[in-house]
Amino acid sequence: MGDNVRVGTRILYVEDDQRIRGSVKLALEDDGWQVDEAETGEDAIVNFDRQPSDVVLIDIMLPGIDGFEVCRSIRRRSDVPIIMVTARADTHDVVAGLEAGADDYMTKPLQPKELSARIRALLRRARPNQPGNPRLRFGDLEVVPSEGVVSRDGEQLHLTKTEFRLLVELANNPGKVFSREDLLEKVWGHGVFGDGRLVDVHVRRLRTKVEADPANPRHVVTVRGLGYKLQP
């Protein structure tokens, strides 16, 4: 368990239900993570400002400012991986959470093993280590995987780590069609045939940054019925 967990990796866990917070913290600590707790969104932001975390875990239903706002607020400060936790069934929580800048989402009841696996995947991909392909060019787009840099027309773009990892995954095999499942597995480390819409929302976010005209994407294009590819 936790072989590849860096010692002292800090998770900021924002959850107002004390029993859930306590039990999940225990489980995560068992897996070797260091967990900072926050009961409210305000606490979380203060806490993050005092000591930035490596991963942030945010429950959407919070008293005071809600999880989306906390997510946006932290995203403005940092590109730290964020996982949203949702329990409500009849809202747009998931997509709204992803729109607010979350990298992944999980639904209650949380399974600690799965949560640990997702966190590990986020941390792993946050430090892409691609040998070779030092500089990839696609028309006006330039990707430097080793440096984590993307630029369009020479102007550097600011991508979150997930968006960057998604782009690099596509860019390493230009023209190859990736199904949503391929991308879920490679970028998010999801082990099961799951929900491709996590990919869809991220592709859309990515397009707004790398495409000159996001309505008519030239680089990241949809392959009808199959998935996405990077147009070489």
Partner: protein
Amino acid sequence: MHRGMHRGMHLGLRGRITIAVALVGLLLSTVLSVTTITVARTTLLDTREDALTRQALANSETLRPEIDTSEAAELQTLLSSLPDGGTPSVIVQTTTGEPVSVSIDTRYGIDVLPSELLDRVVEGRTTGIMRFESEGQPLVAVGIPLTERDASYFEVNTLDDINTAIRTLSVTLMVVTAFATILAMALGFWSSRYALQPLRRIGEAAESVALGQLDTRIDYEDYASDLDLAPLVANFNDMVSALQGRIDRDARFASDVSHELRSPLTTLNASIGVLLNNREQLPERSQQALDLLDLDMRRFTQLVEDLLEISRFDAGAVRLELDSVAIVPTVRAAVASMGGAALRVESDPALDDVVIACDRRRLVRILANYLDNAAKYADGATGVFVERHQPDDDRPATVQIAVEDDGPGVPEAERGRIFDRFNRGDQGGSRGMDLGVGLGLALAAEHARLQGGDVWVEDRHDGGQGARFVVELPLQEPGTADEPDDADDLASVTREEAESFALTGELPAIRIEQGGERA
């Protein structure tokens, strides 16, 4: 299907109106025709009789002074000199012997005259007129007694021409009646279209409600002035509002329950996780208790998830999310991911490049439930088949995806019920403690029906021991409108995505955990 049957057994409202109008048309034109024929016939006959009578009277006046003989030959000559009218005949009653009877045309002689008329004129000495038939020919005869020599004068005339005229008129009127009826039918059909327009609108609105468009209303203002329709429209709108309110409440309740249950479940799962991590430090009896707790916690979690999902179906809170799905690669990838890479997927080459419009997430859930079922009741699936089906050209083609196993199979009698909720079938409870409660197949059925598909179980096609679970989906080409090829389209899809996602997207996490543990 239900509606089709009704339509077959009864005429529709419009049909009934059309037929009623046609019947009224038929009745009216028949009455008119019969009256016309009767009046025409009476008038023609009366006119003919009048003319004949006048002619006969005139002829008898001419004849009267001339009758001074009973010689047939002379009488014959006399009759020939009379102006044309009917066919004249004369009967002379001689005092001595047999009466002398002379006719200008032997066909219409004394023999054809009815005895009643003869009695009246010859014996009774009064003028008479009578219609009669002789050898199928309609005739009319006028008889006038002549005082001289006890004679009687008759004229016979055929009515054939009148009968022919009446027959022609009848045929004409029958044709007219038929035309009038058809015309009335067409008129009824056409006008009922307009009369039924509001009903059709209400029907369409009801259908749209049935399809989940709960905000459908009929514009009351359009019908406010119509005393018959206004209450119907108002009641319809009220009913839909009440329905919408109720569904919203149910959906909210399902959501609240979901939230209330998920929170403690999270605590329980996380705590059990911690205990499992430290299992070795527990006394043996506690370890056994912990294992039982863990197993049933998983079952309970799955049950809660399935119940919540099925309650959303019941509350009408589910939304269909049609994606463009390349069916064969999708099934292959899903099976490889959930059923193991070794599981064989055979596909119809005709489907290789086929992209259909279906709810991808629901399709995957159906497959997951089938594979899960095969794992529970057999030693896992033995094969997955993707086939194209089209029983005949009139029916739309479908895709059938079948999961086969080599388990005990499902007895014929159980096959209808196995997709019912909480029905384990006879095979239930036969194996271990990890049996589900039987919502998986019921959910598969809901997922399939929501997108116009169907599910069933049958014998394996290769005749082997085991079951073949089939899901059938319409082979429906995706429209180009929902292609998420550009950001605009994506943006428009996102709201619905969000709904469907949030409504039903919570399960993968649990499935992953369980799948992982089981494997």
